[in-house]
Symmetry: C2
Subunit: 239 residues, 2 copies
Amino acid sequence: MTINTAEATQPYKNTDVFTPENLNKLKSISYEYSASAGSYLYWEGDLADKLFYIIEGQVRITKATDDGKQLTLYMFQHQDLFGQLDSLQTSTHSFNAEVTEDSIVGIIQLKDLEVLLWQHGDLAVEFMKWMGLMHRTTQTKFRDLLLFGKPGALCSVLIRLSNSYGKEHGEHILIPIRLTNTELAEMIGATRESVNRMLAEFKKQNIIEYNDNLIIIKDLLYLKDLCHCEDCPGNICRM
Amino acid sequence: MTINTAEATQPYKNTDVFTPENLNKLKSISYEYSASAGSYLYWEGDLADKLFYIIEGQVRITKATDDGKQLTLYMFQHQDLFGQLDSLQTSTHSFNAEVTEDSIVGIIQLKDLEVLLWQHGDLAVEFMKWMGLMHRTTQTKFRDLLLFGKPGALCSVLIRLSNSYGKEHGEHILIPIRLTNTELAEMIGATRESVNRMLAEFKKQNIIEYNDNLIIIKDLLYLKDLCHCEDCPGNICRM
DNA sequence: CCGCATAAGTGACATCAATCACACCCGGTT
DNA sequence: AACCGGGTGTGATTGATGTCACTTATGCGG
């Protein structure tokens, strides 16, 4: 099995759709904010009047239910842009943005963004690309998590993690972030016990390896096969 | 239980985010096309270079897997706009657009749209709202279908159908489109047998009624409770 | 070094949902 | 009238997944 460089180096950021000039325009209207691990950038119900650009760190977008379950929708890292852009006026967040590592983010007020979009038609067009990409990410996850059972969902998540974070590690792919079974479970809507058993099974079959909460993918093809992977572009097949 | 008028009349179209003038601008660059039931507007893999506006009829967006499963992601009806807008250049569809009723659609070439967006900043802004709404629809479905088991998923779909199609029917809500058990099953990633049993159970508990493939919702609150409905706005909580 | 907290790991069991098999119903042929 | 085809309805069975209960491993702070 060969690993292409895109999978082996820190690859796809969702801001790849922007030209450097436009990305700079966005940065120019942002202000920096430091957030420590464990804090939240926003909670569901908060007014959605900002976008966030991660300069450094990691943020997880989650949904909590009244009966204590939790679902992780996305994980963002440096150079990712996120936020809700339904309406440039009044809309509230449907999810929580939990800071999972000490982070520095650029905050963009939607009001300022709107002005910029009016001035620069090309930026507006790139913005739509960005929104379209995010939406396709959600749609493809939807498919993966619904159609192939929990093992398929877990495979999909492992592949997405490898696209978003994977580093070359000999012949294999290392996912260089520590994830607990519970965290993985929250990404696929399963219990930590199920995840634990599935991981153990994959390990036994020599599909993956793990130590100290770090996962190494040894047989990516097996994982792809199990969730009927269609080899979507890496900027869509991400966490 | 009272039914608000929004639920009782043909309510939310996803083009509600556009002002009438902007909607007209969109229509002005579209051309009409007639498609008969059973045909497809596009297949996955086709070049995604158009948007579609339904003047009359119904279209279902589906995903087929190589092992014969099918998933229905959305259903669109008159005055809904759909299509994929990742990139204004080269991108291919990830889903199929199946015409489920004889339809008349307006086709908008993305090339033409791009020109229009450049000329009219306000349209570009409304476009982003539209994209944002579609995305939130997908995200909320994601949550509903993953977190509350198959019964929760079915409830979510019934509520969404009632928001998108519901008509007042005495004290209850009639969903005036005929849906087979299989069609419902494809909306939630379940088997027709499971759907059949769940519907029978709901009927027994006097939550719903059905005849001739038409469903009447008698206890919307029960359904909302089962899927932990958060009463999202009706333009998001739709099929 | 001990105690505590957090997470992994695992067995037993219950529950849920898919699968398989088949009867039935109904409308449209032939 | 007989015979489709497509859909519903339902039981029996199997397999997948969640739940509960508990043990073990590990890191951290006193």
